[in-house]
Symmetry: C2
Subunit: 217 residues, 2 copies
Amino acid sequence: MKIAALSSATGASVATLKYYLREGLLHPGVATAVNQADYDDSHVRRVRLVRALVDLGHLSIAEVASVVAAVDDVDVPIHDAFGIAQDAMVPDRPRDDDRHASARSLVDALVARHDLRVRPDAEARNMLADALVHMAEFGLVDLASPAADGSAQFDAYAELFKQWADHEIAFVPDGDRSEMVEYTVVGTLVVEAAMSAIRRLALEDASERRFGDSGRR
Amino acid sequence: MKIAALSSATGASVATLKYYLREGLLHPGVATAVNQADYDDSHVRRVRLVRALVDLGHLSIAEVASVVAAVDDVDVPIHDAFGIAQDAMVPDRPRDDDRHASARSLVDALVARHDLRVRPDAEARNMLADALVHMAEFGLVDLASPAADGSAQFDAYAELFKQWADHEIAFVPDGDRSEMVEYTVVGTLVVEAAMSAIRRLALEDASERRFGDSGRR
DNA sequence: ATCAACGGATAGTTTCACTCTCCATTCCGC
DNA sequence: GCGGAATGGAGAGTGAAACTATCCGTTGAT
């Protein structure tokens, strides 16, 4: 498969593919001559992975590059690669203040309460803490006495997702290493997007029931 | 409250606040002189809303502006404003191909199956269809015969979120109109982010159980 | 009285994700 | 076997986005 074929197989322009090659998002094809290379299925999958990460995960090209580096490093065991990729999927934001710190301790307590085996420095912890900080600003949770408010919901989420996650991870088919890592990475983001969309549909439905024409107040 | 006070209350620089004023993200304060204006709580909340939309929702400033316009237009009933805001919260992407169309018909079927009262042109439908297209590319669902694969999961999601959404919308406190719209808007994104983070923690846990040291294969 | 802060406007900066243009090969169809 | 298109590689250029900086004349606090 030549670059033009890869382009039409993925929908990305040749110029974009060259750019991805330069940035290391796309591994080089097998050179058949000084100005000729052969691409295969792995390149098609890779471009799709990049697009999924960018479109659905809102990752920057640099962040995608670090995900890809973890996927490609064959010395890294599959679970570790998933961890690295997961960290890269959390946008890095300046986190300075102490509200983040107190939110973070709530997160750590949640993780311990549900016996989740998660690295102490997993970025997902900070991601949740960030969300809590924003929620606190709108009075959706109280960081000081969380038990008193709606954040008990999170324990329900945690239990539920724990079961579903087992299913999802079990669903990952045996295959070659990079295929499995790609699968878990893309599954993380794509199912997230799908869940969010379904939740929005449900929210609009609930809003219509409370505020809509049929229940105008 | 002067602009410097607003700045330190929100963490945004004075220059940034001026920029938000220019772009219409922030309503003007009450002018007390030709070069003096007074800001209040509504401005603080507004800046927080903008930051939540940008940080957690990955919305562009232009998209935030359209959300804000819906929030501020007092002629729009609360439910309609929420719909407009929801549409603005879906990143607009070029959607041309027929894979999107077939994914979209699956979405519409799901909506009908669960009796969700959602506008036919709600952007959340396209958001879910986009996610399905990406999933299909990785073989996570089969757009042709969806019943045969894991997409039955979606019906479970839909039922669950429908219940939770009712709770969440019921949880919105009575208040003035813009406060309620802000509440639903920020709730949409912020709970999404929290759920995603919790799910990632659960996925890392599940990955560790299947692929980690303790279960190395 | 002075000097920092203010609003308003315009211009400048940085980053990002491409996109364009060259070039010297190489391939493909006739 | 020849001519035009495609290729890899590298550099420069582009346009949008999200601020940031500077300037100005006015005002408020000390």
